[in-house]
Symmetry: C2
Subunit: 209 residues, 2 copies
């Protein structure tokens, strides 16, 4: 019998949404447990001791009680869920290329696009520290560079790794489809817009939130 799956999450987080979207596309049941990161609920001693010593969400919990295992890092949790499915290419180069886009997402996309969304939509521009304010322009430019690269790739491909969706699409969809909340105008990116519509039309798709 399959083990129970629990997602420790904040529903406003795109990183958490990736896991929920992966589960939905695969038809896997997922129990959701919410934390408010703005209130420090992932930094409590109990959370740090049992769920994630790194104090971050999302964390995918597999099993329950004393045998429960915990998997932090959104893209690693997606990898666990999608094991053996068509969302993870099996061929050697294709699998590495899928991971290539997932590492790009965590290194070049999320720190810029998700961070500006968090600052502008949830913290509020008026509440930013001097240091955060000084970083807005650099993150804006780096976020645009990430979107430019995606646009050029998607101009020639239906999905990131060819003709069918993979975890690369799920990872990149999460914060791209809400990039306007971070002040990134998606009107300049028609191939990204068409890809967003393709992902949103996948059987089993669930919306963020």
């Amino acid at each position: 019998m399959a083990e129970a799956l629990t997602l420790h999450e904040d529903p406003r987080s795109g990183n958490c949404y990736k896991i929920r979207l992966t589960a939905a596309l695969l038809g896997l049941a997922l129990e959701r447990r919410s934390y408010d990161i703005m209130q420090g609920e992932t930094r409590t001693p109990a959370f740090l001791a049992t769920v994630n010593a790194n104090g971050r969400i999302p964390v995918l919990q597999i099993g329950e009680g004393a045998d429960a295992r915990f998997l932090p890092e959104s893209n690693a949790a997606c990898w666990y869920l999608a094991h053996g499915s068509a969302l993870v290419p099996q061929e050697r180069f294709a699998q590495a290329d899928c991971l290539r886009w997932m590492f790009f997402e965590q290194y070049s996309h999320e720190p810029n696009i998700a961070t500006l969304r968090f600052w502008l939509r949830f913290v509020g521009e008026a509440n930013l520290s001097e240091q955060q304010r000084a970083q807005v322009m650099a993150r804006r430019m780096a976020g645009c560079a990430a979107l430019d690269l995606m646009e050029r790739h998607l101009a020639g491909h239906a999905f990131f790794c060819g003709d069918a969706p993979t975890l690369a699409d799920i990872a990149l969809f999460a914060y791209t489809h809400v990039a306007e909340e971070g002040g990134f105008g998606l009107g300049d990116y028609p191939a990204i817009g068409a890809w967003i519509a393709r992902v949103a039309a996948l059987p089993g798709f669930v919306a963020m939130g």
Copy 2:
């Protein structure tokens, strides 16, 4: 016959070193092609058009001429090389857990520890911009948090995913073993020190540079 493997790299980069170390531990031949990132050699039109539109190294090239394929993102290139080897766990949770540490490396470790090493050792403290200077303290604290998490994990494990080395160790070794060049004192981290010695003693190990 195996395809020719070429690493487009800067030998000072820990991200490039990961790929070279993976190949060495697996006994794979790798041709090295050097670029000086300080001179913008990965931003030339030729590099952007053929090797990586993202203007970054490392890139692993598989094959040659018109059939060559290019794989950016250091950890994805390692994944390609290590396909089917013991450096990639096959069991479902173990494989996701290996990736968990690799995503942690790119998100929580590299942007802090590698960036401070680059700024202090290669750019030089006197040459930092105001904006870079304002970020030093935050990156220092985040880098220490990453090392703390590693230390606590390694206090109970010989390697990141159990008793044998995996790509998680290679990914985290690259910038950890030179963290002192970024001003991080490793004397406070005895479990990390012992793990560095274990990695450096692996058969086939090659040094950075």
